[in-house]
C-alpha cells in the first residue's frame, strides 16, 4: 500500500530516510505540484486536472473507503427489498411517514441506491486513476537497473564498515554480487572513484502484487456488473410425484438481468420422487423439532443424456449444464377434496401449504374454489403435522407428520378474482366472505384426520384424502461467477505479495587504499522490513569472514540476507 502514497504524494517522500537517490523517479511530478500551487489561475482544463488529482489522491480514497463502510451499515439495520421484501413491507406499514421518508431516501434498497453507487463508483474511478500511472512507472522500474549507490552510506540501515588488510577489492565485490544474486537481488556493479560498488534491489514483486490486487478488484467489480446483467434466478415449488421442466411459465417467481435471453435457459426436467426430513426427536441432544436433514430425491433428464437419480440436499445442489438447482425450502401438501352443495367436486388434489416459521411447522392452508355453486368458496385454516388445538388455537408441536390433521373453516362469498388485480394464491381476502355457520349459528372449525370427510350444514363437504410433501428449489445461473472467483483469488494473491514481500535496497562498496580494502555495507527498507538490519550485518560479516579466513563461510547462514518473509528463496544462496 505504501507505494500508492509514494507515487501520489510527493510530500511523503521526505518522511522516508534516504530517499534521495530515488526521489527523482518516484516523486518528480511537477504537474502535481504545479496544479496545487496554481489553483486560482486554472482554466477549465486545469480545474478538471485539479479535480482529477484530488479524486485520485490517497486522502480521497481514504474518505471514500470510510464512507463506503458507513453507507453499508443501514443496509444491515433496515430490511432490504432485495433480501426480504415481506419484512420491508411490514416495516413500511408499521412506521408510516418515517418509513416513507426512509424509502424515498433509498434505505430499503441501500446497495442499489444512488448514494451507495456513487461512493463505490467514485472509489473505483479513484482507484483506476491511481493505478494506471503506477503501472507505467512500475513497468519502467522493472526494466531499470538498481539505482546508483549513494555517495555516503553511513546514514542507511545497518551501516557496517570493515577494514580488511590485504584483500582484493575485485574479489570482494564479485563475491558480494554473487551472494546477493543468489538471494534473488537484482544487482549492478558500478565503477566509482577509487573503488567499486554493488547496488542491489529486491522486492519489486511487492508493487507488482499491489497493482495486481487493485486491478483484480476492478475485475471483480466488472464481473459482478456483468453477472447482474446476464444472470437469472427463479423459485419453483414441486410436490412429491410431480415434475418440473425448465421454462419461464413453470416458475413461481423469476428475476433476470437486462441482457438475459430466455432462449439461453438450459433444457432440463426433473421429477421429485421423494422428499425426506429428519428432526431432533425427544430424548436426543439438541432442541426437539430442530431439523437434522433434508433430502430430495429427483429423477433428472437432460437432453442427450440418460435420466439419472440424484439426491439434492442443503449444501449439495444439483448442477446441470447451464444451471444449478438448490434445495431451499419444504413443506406439506395435504390432498384436500371440496364438493359444493350441488355435489360438484370444485377442488381436488395436493395443496401447497405455507409453514408459518414455528418449530412445529404449523402451516397455513388457503384453498380457493371459484367454481363452487351457489357461491364461491374458500377453505382457510391450518395444516398441523403433529397437531393439537388448545387455548392458543390450532398449532403443531413437532415438525414431522406424526399426527397430521387439518383445522379448517369454510367461507363463502366473492373471492374477488374478477377484479383484475393479480392475487397471491396463498392469501385470501376474508372481508368479502362469510364463514359457513354450523347448526348453532357459529362458524365451524373443522378438524380432519387423513381419510376423514366433513359435511357442513349447507351440504359442502371437505375431505382430507392423503398427505404429500413438497420441496422448494431455487434455480440460478450466473455466467460471470467463474470470473469473479478468479479475480478475487488474483486479488488476494496480489494482496499477500504486497503485504509480505519486503522491498529493500542493499549496497556494498569496496575502496582500496594502501593495500587495505575498506568494505562498507548498508541497506534501505522501502517497506516494513524489520529483518533488514540483521541481514545487512550478516552479509557484511560473511563477506569479511569469507575473505578474512577467520570465519568459516557457512557460519553466518543464520542471518542470511534472504532470511526474510519469503524464505522460500533461501535455498541456493551463498554459503
Amino acid at each position: 500500500m505504501s507505494e500508492r502514497t509514494t507515487s501520489q504524494d510527493p510530500r511523503e517522500k521526505s518522511a522516508e530516510p534516504g530517499a534521495g537517490a530515488e526521489s527523482g523517479r518516484w516523486s518528480s511530478k511537477p504537474e502535481v505540484d504545479g496544479a496545487r500551487a496554481a489553483v486560482p489561475s486554472l482554466g477549465l482544463r486545469g480545474t478538471l486536472l485539479f479535480l482529477w488529482r484530488q479524486l485520485t489522491s490517497m486522502q480521497t480514497a481514504l474518505v471514500l473507503l470510510m464512507l463506503l463502510a458507513v453507507a453499508a451499515i443501514p443496509g444491515s439495520l433496515y430490511p432490504q427489498r432485495s433480501v426480504n421484501p415481506a419484512l420491508t413491507e411490514q416495516f413500511l406499514d408499521e412506521n408510516g411517514r418515517w418509513g416513507e421518508i426512509l424509502d424515498a431516501l433509498g434505505f430499503f434498497e441501500v446497495f442499489s441506491s444512488p448514494w451507495f453507487s456513487a461512493i463505490y463508483l467514485l472509489l473505483f474511478i479513484s482507484l483506476i486513476g491511481c493505478i494506471v500511472p503506477r503501472v507505467g512507472v512500475h513497468l519502467k522500474q522493472l526494466r531499470a537497473k538498481p539505482p546508483r549507490t549513494p555517495s555516503r552510506l553511513t546514514r542507511f540501515t545497518g551501516y557496517t564498515r570493515v577494514e580488511l588488510p590485504g584483500e582484493q577489492a575485485d574479489a570482494l565485490i564479485e563475491s558480494a554480487r554473487r551472494s546477493l544474486r543468489r538471494s534473488r537481488y537484482r544487482t549492478e556493479v558500478r565503477e566509482e572513484r577509487n573503488g567499486r560498488s554493488v547496488s542491489a534491489e529486491r522486492g519489486l514483486l511487492r508493487e507488482t502484487g499491489n497493482l495486481l490486487f487493485h486491478i483484480a478488484l476492478v475485475g471483480v467489480l466488472v464481473c459482478v456488473a456483468g453477472g447482474s446483467l446476464t444472470s437469472y434466478r427463479g423459485q419453483v415449488t414441486v410436490i412429491e410425484g410431480d415434475g418440473f421442466s425448465n421454462s419461464l411459465t413453470q416458475y413461481d417467481s423469476f428475476e433476470a438481468g437486462a441482457w438475459f435471453d430466455e432462449s439461453d435457459m438450459p433444457d432440463f426436467r426433473f421429477t421429485l420422487e421423494d422428499f425426506r426430513a429428519t428432526y431432533v426427536e425427544p430424548g436426543e441432544s439438541g432442541k426437539v423439532g430442530e431439523p437434522r436433514s433434508f433430502e430430495a430425491d429427483v429423477q433428472v433428464s437432460t437432453p442427450g443424456q440418460e435420466d439419472e437419480s440424484r439426491t439434492v440436499q442443503v449444501n449439495k445442489p444439483l448442477h446441470v449444464p447451464g444451471a444449478s438447482m438448490y434445495l431451499l425450502g419444504n413443506g406439506y401438501a395435504p390432498e384436500i377434496t371440496v364438493t359444493d352443495p350441488e355435489g360438484t367436486v370444485v377442488a381436488e388434489g395436493p395443496l401447497i401449504t405455507v409453514p408459518m416459521g414455528d418449530v412445529g411447522y404449523t402451516s397455513q392452508v388457503v384453498l380457493k374454489a371459484p367454481d363452487a355453486q351457489p357461491e364461491q368458496t374458500a377453505v382457510v385454516g391450518f395444516f398441523l403435522p403433529t397437531g393439537t388445538i388448545d387455548e392458543q388455537g390450532p398449532r403443531s408441536l413437532y415438525p414431522d407428520a406424526v399426527d397430521p390433521q387439518l383445522a379448517l373453516t369454510v367461507y363463502q362469498g366473492d373471492l374477488g378474482l374478477d377484479s383484475g388485480v393479480p392475487q397471491n394464491a396463498y392469501e385470501v381476502d376474508l372481508t368479502t366472505l362469510t364463514a359457513v355457520p354450523g347448526e348453532d349459528g357459529d362458524p365451524v372449525l373443522i378438524r380432519l384426520y387423513p381419510g376423514e370427510e366433513y359435511e357442513l350444514a349447507d351440504g359442502t363437504t371437505v375431505s382430507f384424502d392423503g398427505l404429500r410433501r413438497y420441496a422448494a428449489f431455487d434455480i440460478a445461473h450466473n455466467p460471470f461467477e467463474r470470473g469473479i472467483l478468479v479475480s478475487a483469488l488474483v486479488a488476494v494473491g496480489g494482496l499477500i505479495l504486497s503485504l509480505f514481500v519486503p522491498r529493500r535496497r542493499l549496497w556494498v562498496r569496496v575502496r582500496e587504499a594502501d593495500g587495505t580494502a575498506v568494505l562498507e555495507v548498508a541497506g534501505l527498507a522501502r517497506s516494513d522490513d524489520p529483518a533488514l538490519e540483521t541481514d545487512v550485518k550478516a552479509l557484511a560479516s560473511r563477506l569479511a569472514g569469507a575473505h578474512d579466513g577467520n570465519r568459516p563461510p557457512d557460519a553466518a547462514s543464520s542471518g542470511h540476507p534472504a532470511a526474510d518473509a519469503d524464505g522460500g528463496h533461501r535455498e541456493g544462496s551463498a554459503q
Partner: protein, 369 residues
Amino acid sequence: MINQQLAEISNLALVVTIVLYVLALIGFGADLASSSQRRSDARLAARERQEAEQEAQPATVGAAAGHTSGTTTGGSPDSADAKGVADAASAGDVTDPAGAEHVAAGTMTAQRFAFVLTSAATVLHLAGVITRALATQRVPWANMYEFATTSTAIVMVAFLAFSIRRTELRALGTFVVGPVLLVLLLAQTFWIVPAAELTPSLQNSHWIYIHIGVAILATALSILGAVVASLQLLQAKHERTLAERAATEDFPEHWGRFGHVLDRLPSSSSLESLSFRIHSLAFVCWTFTLIFGAIWAREAWGRFWGWDPKEVWTFIIWVIYAAYLHARATGGFRGSRAAGLALAGFVAVIFNYTIVNTVINGLHSYSGL
C-alpha cells in the same frame, strides 16, 4: 451421536480454564503493580542521589549523570530502571526487558507464575475445545459458544507463541488474558448451548472447516491487533506527555495511572509495527473469509453474495481494515489516526459477532445462537 461424557469433560475443562485465567490475570496484575513500585523506588533513589551529589559537588553534575547511564547496560534492576526514567523523554528505550530477567533463573516471580499458569490454562482450554469437537464428532465452531471458545484459544496460542521467546512481550499478558477471560465468561454465561449435531445448513460441506476456520483466525488476529493498537495509542500519548514534562522537570512523573505500566511496554513505534503486521495478517484472513464465504453461499443458497447482515458486516470490517492499511501509508494519518481506524475495524468485528448474531435476523443465524 453425541458423546455426553466427553461433552461434560469439555465443559469442566473450560470452567477450570476460566479459574486458571483468573489466577494468571492476578499474577500479571501483581507483576505490573510490583514493577511500578520498583520503578518509583528507583526514581526516588535517583533523585536523592543526584541531590546529594549536587550538594557535594555542584560542578560535576554532568559527570554524575554520565556515570548513571554508563553502568546500566548489564547492571542491577535499580540502575536499569533509573536509566529507563532518565531516558524516558527520548522514549524508544523504555522497554525495560521484563524486570524478571534481572532476577536469577528459577526464582518464582509474579510474572513467571502468571505465565506458567497461562500456559497450563491454554493447554486445558485447547483440551476443552478438542473434547467438544470429539464429543460432537465435528468441528468445534457451529455456534456462538463454540466460536468464542475456539477463537479465544487461538488468541492464547498466538500470544504464547509470540511471547515464549520474546519474554518482554509477557508484560502484555494482562491485556491479552483480560479480554480472553471476558469473552470466555460471556460465552459461559450467555452463549452456552449443549453439545449437539449440526443443522442441515451446516452439514455436507467442507466449507465449514475452511470458511469458519479462517473466520476464527481472522477474529483472533483482530482481537490481538486491537490489543496492540490500543496499547500503541496509550503509549504514544504517554510518550508525548513524558516528552513535554521532560522539558520542564528533571524527573518526570508518569502519565496517568497507567504510566508505570506503559513504561514497561515496547515503544509506540514498535507497537505500531507489530500492530501493522498483525492487522495485515488479519486483513488477508478477512479477505479469505469473504471469498470462501461467497463460495459456500453459492453452494448453499445459490448466490455468492446476497447482502445478508453477516455479509454486510464482514464487508464493513474488510473496508475499514483496508482503510487502515491505506491510512498507514498516508501522510497525516500515520500512527495514531491509523490505529484509530484499526480499532474502528475491531468495533465492527465485535458488532458482527454480537449484535448481528443475536439481534439482527439473517441467514447466518443458526441453532439458536
